[in-house]
């Protein structure tokens, strides 16, 4: 999604830069889209080779990486494209996990549970979206956070699936490699959906809502229904991931599958990569989760500190995300500049982008 659109209202450089009119013309929308698509597909194709290594720990790590890639990409549909930052998307993860868990306990096949979870999550997203998507900004974020927290409490009190909401499942009939490819398929599907959104009318409508909801409405976009559509779109893959996770992990409880940390990780990965970009969530899922696992393997208990510190560094220094930073560096310049001048200019722009949000 490099440069397929520019964000005048949110991009820090556009507002803080007096000399903006001297800047050369923007690249034509979407000139870099095929390259982003290709890069993403190459990353996913390489990921498909991981099971060849035969190492169980690596497979485990990469299964979770792909799961978080799918989660972050599905958060991106609403949070990145549409600009409605949900802090409670883990709710749909939990719904998927509990639908799958309860149906397996009732003796049904696991695929039925996962699909039911997706349908239920889609319906819930529609019904909850009706009131909640009338809220904006902080209010929407906290309302979604509240939904997830309240559900966690209710599931535990109502003893859903077991005492305190704890669910114990039989060992899965699928091999770890099979699970890996299921998560891989999910991540691939999310990526292709993102690529479609980045170059299609519905996707442009969502971006228009992010840039200015009133203008979008005035242009004839039924913003309310598009927002609800994006909410459903972001809920369904999240629930699928939750269902797969439930069967894969063979046991879970409300604090794990309704963990607010998962919601925040979806937001962090998307923002770190670049909200509303095609490649961002995928790249940052791989980078951040690898780093995070490195910390866990070394036996430290600082996962939360690491998460918190990364969040602080990302938000302070690269709020426009890695993709945005690269894009800022490579923005086309006037012809005839030497390589050295290009480098200096690129670094200057990146530094200005970093400092642009201060008091």
């Amino acid at each position: 999604m490099f440069g397929s659109w520019h964000k005048p209202s949110t991009s820090s450089t556009a507002t803080a830069e007096p000399g903006a009119e001297q800047r050369p013309a923007q690249p034509k929308p979407g000139t870099r889209w095929p390259w982003s698509l290709l890069t993403g597909l190459i990353i996913l194709a390489l990921a498909a080779l991981i099971p060849l290594s035969g190492d169980a720990a690596t497979l485990h790590t990469w299964t979770l990486i792909l799961m978080f890639a799918a989660l972050a990409q599905s958060w991106n549909f609403l949070g990145g494209f549409t600009g409605y930052a949900s802090f409670g998307n883990v709710f749909f993860f939990g719904v998927g996990a509990y639908s799958t868990g309860l149906l397996i306990l009732a003796g049904r096949p696991f695929w039925l549970g996962v699909l039911t979870g997706a349908v239920v999550a889609g319906l819930l997203a529609f019904l909850l979206g009706l009131p909640v998507l009338r809220l904006r900004g902080h209010y929407f974020a906290i309302a979604t956070l509240g939904i997830a927290e309240a559900t966690r409490e209710l599931v535990a009190i109502r003893n859903l699936g077991g005492s305190g909401g704890e669910v114990e499942l039989p060992l899965p009939a699928l091999s770890d490699t099979a699970f890996y490819f299921l998560f891989w398929l999910l991540a691939l599907a999310c990526f292709l959906l993102t690529a479609y959104l980045a170059r299609s009318k519905p996707g442009y409508a969502l971006i228009a809502i992010r840039e200015s909801e009133e203008t979008a409405e005035a242009m004839g976009i039924p913003t309310y229904w598009y927002k609800i559509g994006a909410f459903v779109l972001s809920a369904v893959p999240t629930a699928l991931a939750g269902g797969l996770y439930a069967y894969w992990s063979t046991g879970f409880d409300p604090p794990t599958v309704f963990d607010v940390g998962i919601s925040v990780e979806m937001v962090l990965l998307t923002v770190l990569g670049g909200a509303g970009t095609l490649l961002g969530p995928l790249i940052s899922a791989v980078l951040f989760e690898l780093l995070s696992f490195q910390f866990q393997i070394s036996g430290s208990t600082f996962h939360n500190s690491l998460l918190g510190l990364t969040i602080a560094i990302v938000t302070i220094f690269i709020p426009q995300g890695l993709v945005g930073l690269v894009q800022e560096f490579f923005r086309p310049l006037a012809p005839g500049m030497s390589r050295r001048q290009l480098l200096v200019e690129g670094v200057r722009r990146v530094r200005r982008a970093i400092a642009a949000n201060g008091v």
Binding site: G79, I142, G146, V264, G308, L309, I311, T315, I316
Partner: protein, 312 residues
Amino acid sequence: MLVLAVRSLPVRRLPFHREVSAMLIAQVIVNWLLLGSLYAAVALGFSLVWGIMNIVNLAHGAFILVGAYTAYWAFTQLHIDPFLGLPLTMLLLFCLGWVVQYVAINRVIRAPFLVTFLLTFGLDLLIADVVQLLFTSDRRSINTAYSGFGLTLGTLHIPFDRLLAALIAVLLTAALSLFLQRTRTGNAILATGMDRDAARLMGIRIDRIYALTFGLGAALAGAAGAMLVELYPFDPSQGGVFTLRAFVIVVLGGLGTPWGALAGGLVFGLAETVVPLLPGIGPGYDDAIAFALMVLVLIFRPRGILGKAFYA
């Protein structure tokens, strides 16, 4: 938080429809007022920071946590009474908040809301993790010489420490209101909240005003934490709950004034005191109640009870 609600209401186990007497109703009202004022203290700093800087400070719960553990540490190590040590706790938290704002949040103050939202959440994770590292995740409580004492009128019981906490909460609200209205610095804070760029043109140092405001917010959170640890057992996992509650309280009361936090706290306390007494509900639904209340208010009166266009 469950503990907070249950201990606030020793009469809960009685069936509501049977032993309703004048005394019982009086006790419920007393409990409500005490709990509501305490909630006002929890939300006061949050309301100030949100109203002036338009930042939803998700690290608020972490500041409450630091306040609680500072009071706990001062009590166990230095034998300082939590109420007497309140100024000390507030001073420490003020410095912490000032630094956090000056070093971190001031750098992203113009970024879209998601960035500050995420940043304060990251700080919350970080601070809560450090607190847990220093004090472990065990439950802590303070038992002073006077805990358990109180005024008793017939069957009506008013615990001394809870009364004192409620009085301090109201006092802090009044003091903040006076400070904002009557002092030059307070007026500068209000002016910055109304129009950042105009305030800068009037010669106000925005970065310092923001750091001061955030420091005050943290100090008030610290005061709330110190009083909470005096009244209820505490552990490091409770920070997030208080952030969510503070948000709901501020939404209920409105962003306009410090008194909005008090109004919101009282409404929230009322819901938490009365709803579990209703037949068929029972205790344990604190978060669900909080969330349902907030959505109702946002739909019917988005400005809150005492809400105004700006903080004044």
